[in-house]
Symmetry: C2
Subunit: 205 residues, 2 copies
DNA sequence: ACCCCGGCATGACAGATGTCAGGGTCGTGG
DNA sequence: CCACGACCCTGACATCTGTCATGCCGGGGT
């Protein structure tokens, strides 16, 4: 092995998955995992300390989500490329990750041998996105919800009644009902519960 | 390496995670992954074909959940022990998995080096359960919901209105409302949305 | 026999949800 | 300046949700 090694950072809150991915990538002679972190807010510090070539970030992590961490990494270490590795291929996630500066986006349904390939392509400056997911992203489009509607729908996630949401967000109950109604209409749902599922599934929340 | 090898089967619907676990366990000289499947309904056939010593099963899989697959495996191949490896350490899952015949239950938050240890202990006839999870299980207890209440609450998961649930389950709307009301009371929730979350979080659905 | 329990059903009703109309304020762009 | 969109608010109202009381049926246990 005389060629250069691609240095990697892994960020995933599930320790077992993180360790397994490290083992998988560690089998590749041209890849080396130099750091692993379990929460989003540890990513940038680890990037600055270890200077990886490619950071593989999960989306849903405690402390900071992978998309926000992507933007931070790109700002703090422009030479580090980001590959998102996530359970849910939600169109909104794809769009926002690419806008945040990610070079690639793979879902955990991807066959294992393809991950090392994706890492190498990202490292070589290419963009790696599943074509089906790209299509879904075009179909789902950008979130039709205003920031406030998104916030109210987020608050409605756990079934909170209008009064509780109004209290939590310092709004009147009528305003909350209006925002929910609007979000229900924009997502084509029959009620708030379904609106939450639609928006969540599209990565709009 | 002169000792015996423990033969493993992996079942997880996420190809990347499955492959990564295979790589992780494959690093152990006394472990050998002899089969991998991506859905629950493929588990038994693969067990019968490959005769693994230990089957590592995820819970939430298409085709058949890992708990049902556990019972099937234990019936079809009593010499094969089952280790559940799951994202969600829900108390109800733990209880039902052990009752179905699983010898171990680990969550994906478990540090990677502990997985091989867990496999060896299960193979040696020991039982492997996280003590915190066992405590949660005792606290949460068995589901207080009747089968019918569970079924109605399941149907309510995606926000379906009462009329739609009644139609889907061939019940009257009044009966659906009664079952939902009962489930809300038993879970201590304020409405059906919260009841779904409570029951889900406890592994009762 | 009776009793208990779970499941299903009906009906009444209070409160919550969602829709719609209308109005005001603020910031942005032409 | 005006127009527009986002946000917030109020009020009216139809519909849905959840609760409660009541009753019937079937199965299992004593």
């Amino acid at each position: 092995m005389t060629g250069p090694v691609i240095r990697l950072l892994l960020a995933d809150d599930q320790a077992l998955v993180r360790g397994a991915l490290s083992a998988l990538l560690g089998l590749e002679p041209d890849l080396e995992v130099v750091a692993e972190v379990g929460s989003g807010d540890e990513v940038v510090a680890a990037v600055l300390e270890h200077r990886p070539d490619v950071a593989l970030l999960d989306v849903e992590m405690p402390g900071m989500d992978g998309i926000t961490a992507t933007a931070e990494v790109r700002r703090a270490s422009p030479d580090t490329r980001v590959l998102i590795v996530t359970t849910f291929g939600r169109p909104g996630y794809l769009r926002r990750a690419l806008q945040a500066g990610a070079s690639g986006f793979v879902v955990k349904d991807t066959p294992a041998p393809q991950l090392a390939d994706a890492v190498r392509r990202v490292h070589a400056g290419l963009r790696v996105v599943d074509p089906d997911l790209a299509t879904d992203s075009l179909v789902a489009g950008e979130s039709p919800l205003t920031a406030r509607e998104t916030e109210v729908l987020q608050a409605a996630r756990d079934g909170a009644p209008v009064a509780a949401i109004a209290q939590r967000l310092f709004l009147s109950e009528g305003t909350v009902r209006n925002h929910l109604s609007s979000a229900i209409g924009k997502t084509g749902a029959v009620n708030r519960a379904e609106a939450v599922l639609v928006a969540d599934g599209n990565g709009w929340l």
